[in-house]
């Protein structure tokens, strides 16, 4: 499918790589935005990759919108032929599923939910045909996730589950958005997982909470001293279930500046991944675990 170009007023060019979400669409978006960055088009001030689309902002006093359009279109042919291979990071994120804080919050906003009688985990497990919440959590933490967009607010990652489409977890958003979500809630809406970087409004189903800060404007957190936002598009995430003790220990480690999330550099090849998803994911996990 050809890319669709549209101006967002006189300062933005919006490009949709695909209407549907897929890793191919994300890689097209990523290689386009990388190509645009490398082209160094004068007047371009922001390049924002998204799940299956991207956006660039430009200064129309410096470059005419039509010239931005033609320069970006000129990159399309090369970018879509680019090898779908990236060197990226794989990171392990501890998650306390079914934690008391998201539980308190989901009970507080129960009347805004599709199923007021259960929890978000009960609901997600049921509509995705899992026999139990435990089985659902095993699926959620069993495969890695691709960070396909960073945004909404303050470094929030949108994550795409790295399994065949038929196995992907899908849930609707709340019927009406909540006005509150605990900071570092692990949520899910549509086909996307997320981690709420800050406390605030939200509509995604809530499954658990991570002790690992992913945004720190004070830059005190040990691994956020260089930059206040942890995630970058293209990162790969593996969730690791922890219990209350594990959660409390990690929170203490974060506070004392000694929490270090396991992070490894890894080469990801989309074609090899698609040839053998489970095998490839097992290899990724091996890299994470240092073998």
């Amino acid at each position: 499918m050809p890319m669709r170009y549209s101006f967002g007023g006189d300062e933005h060019l919006f490009v949709e790589c695909s209407e549907d979400m897929s890793l191919e669409a994300f890689f097209n978006s990523l290689s386009m935005t990388t190509g645009i960055k490398e082209a160094g088009i004068k007047g371009v001030t922001e390049i924002c990759p998204a799940n299956a689309s991207f956006q660039i902002k430009f200064d129309p006093d410096v470059i005419h919108p039509d010239d931005v359009l033609s320069e970006v279109k000129a990159i399309e042919a090369a970018a879509t032929k680019a090898e779908p291979v990236i060197t990226t990071r794989i990171v392990e994120i501890p998650v306390f599923y079914n934690d008391p804080w998201t539980h308190e919050t989901l009970m507080r906003f129960r009347e805004r939910h599709q199923d007021p009688t259960g929890t978000d985990l009960d609901y997600a497990a049921r509509i995705n045909n899992y026999a139990s919440v435990d089985e659902f959590i095993r699926a959620h933490s069993g495969s890695p996730w691709f960070v396909s967009m960073v945004g909404f607010v303050s470094g929030l990652p949108f994550m795409y589950q790295m399994v065949e489409r038929k196995r992907q977890i899908q849930v609707p958003k709340y019927l009406r958005p909540r006005t509150d979500t605990p900071r570092l809630t692990v949520g899910h809406g549509g086909c996307f997982g997320c981690i709420y970087s800050v406390r605030g409004a939200g509509g995604y189903q809530m499954f658990g909470i991570t002790p690992m800060p992913i945004y720190d404007p004070t830059q005190q957190t040990s691994y956020l001293k260089d930059f206040m936002v942890f995630f970058r598009p293209g990162d790969i995430v593996k969730f690791k279930p922890v219990d209350r003790d594990g959660y409390d220990q990690a929170v203490e480690d974060v506070d004392k500046g000694r929490f270090a999330p396991p992070i490894r550099e890894v080469r990801f090849d989309l074609r090899e991944f698609q040839n053998d998803i489970d095998g490839y994911n097992a290899k990724l996990e091996g890299v994470l675990n240092g073998h």
Binding site: G8, S53, F152, V153, S154, Y160, G190
Partner: protein, 322 residues
């Protein structure tokens, strides 16, 4: 070297011209909603046009100056008082150490800009002093100012007391307010009739209107071109696979109430957008109160670029005064 906050107003924040460059991480550019008014206020007190000032919405703060300073208030119409004596807006006012700046009730517009010679000298965060409260970033400790705060002020430069910006060079939304919009983005998702209705109907600013976005009510709901929803988009016809949102873009969740994203925009999400307010009209939104009747006017890119030139020319006329 400080301003003491006696009363903060409703939501008064330190703002400059923003921090472009981090929208791809969900950190919006922020900065004054009505940039022209902030620039004018800064020029009046001898600052660079992009110095940090205070943006106060609906209710002005009560501030005590601990040293002599040149002060200017621009933007919304709100009676200005120094030690209880009314002073003109859009004018350089010499305030003495110990004097108190207060405001009466808002008469028109929505946001005032208070510039002080030397600028509000809070530390920069990612290159800007603008406050982004959602991310606890920038401004005074990452939040709106509060009673008891002491705001640091920079080194003053020369300014002329009594200097004023003439009425003709101040820009305010009309009645009804008219916002020019370039249709696009996911415009194709609504029916032709809905597209016509959107521009024909009179809308009103809803109470949910802030630095992140302005919601509108009162027009006819938009109906959609039927389609099978794409994978990952969500089930509502107004859903898309989460994408970036341009500043000024108009999303219409459920097809009912349009929301224009402003300076503290969320950087992306899963609602379709039908177009974008042109850059020249973004300032006007910052001066619209809830219930303001509003018309959206369809324009093309050529008109948007001309309007941008006109706005730059207006700023040029203001600068020529100094």
């Amino acid at each position: 070297m400080a301003i003491k906050v006696i009363h903060p107003g409703l939501a008064t924040t330190v703002q400059d011209l923003g921090r472009p460059g981090y929208f791809h991480l969900g950190i919006p550019e922020g900065g004054a909603m009505d940039r022209l008014s902030l620039k004018a206020a800064n020029l009046l007190v001898g600052n660079d046009e992009g110095a940090a000032g205070l943006e106060a919405v609906f209710i002005g703060p009560k501030l005590e100056f601990t040293r002599d300073a040149m002060v200017a208030v621009t933007g919304a119409e709100m009676p200005i008082k120094v030690d209880g004596v009314e002073q003109p807006g859009w004018t350089a006012l010499a305030v003495k150490a110990g004097q108190v700046l207060t405001f009466d009730f808002l008469k028109g517009g929505a946001r005032i800009y208070i510039a002080v010679s030397g600028g509000i000298d809070v530390p920069t965060a990612l290159g800007s002093r603008s406050t982004y409260p959602i991310g606890a970033l920038g401004g005074f400790n990452g939040r709106a100012i509060a009673a008891g705060d002491e705001l640091p002020v920079g080194e003053a430069r020369k300014a002329t007391e009594g200097k004023s910006i003439p009425e003709a060079l101040r820009r305010r939304p009309g009645m009804p307010a008219e916002l020019r919009v370039v249709p696009g983005l996911y415009w194709h998702r609504i029916s032709e009739q809905a597209g016509r209705n959107f521009f024909e109907d009179e809308w009103k600013v809803a109470p949910e209107a802030d630095r992140m976005g302005y919601r509108f009510r009162g027009g006819r709901p938009l109906d959609f071109v039927p389609r099978e929803q794409p994978f990952g988009a969500g089930s509502d016809p107004s859903n898309i696979v989460d994408s970036c949102y341009p500043y000024g873009s108009i999303q219409v969740p459920g097809g009912t109430e349009p929301i224009i994203l402003h300076r503290d925009a969320v950087s992306g999400g899963g609602y379709f957008m039908i177009g974008t307010v042109i850059s020249a009209d973004m300032d006007l939104i910052g001066q619209m109160q809830p219930h303001t009747p509003t018309r959206f006017v369809k324009v093309d890119i050529g008109t948007a670029l001309q309007a941008r030139k006109d706005r730059a020319a207006l700023l040029g006329q203001i600068k020529a005064l100094f």
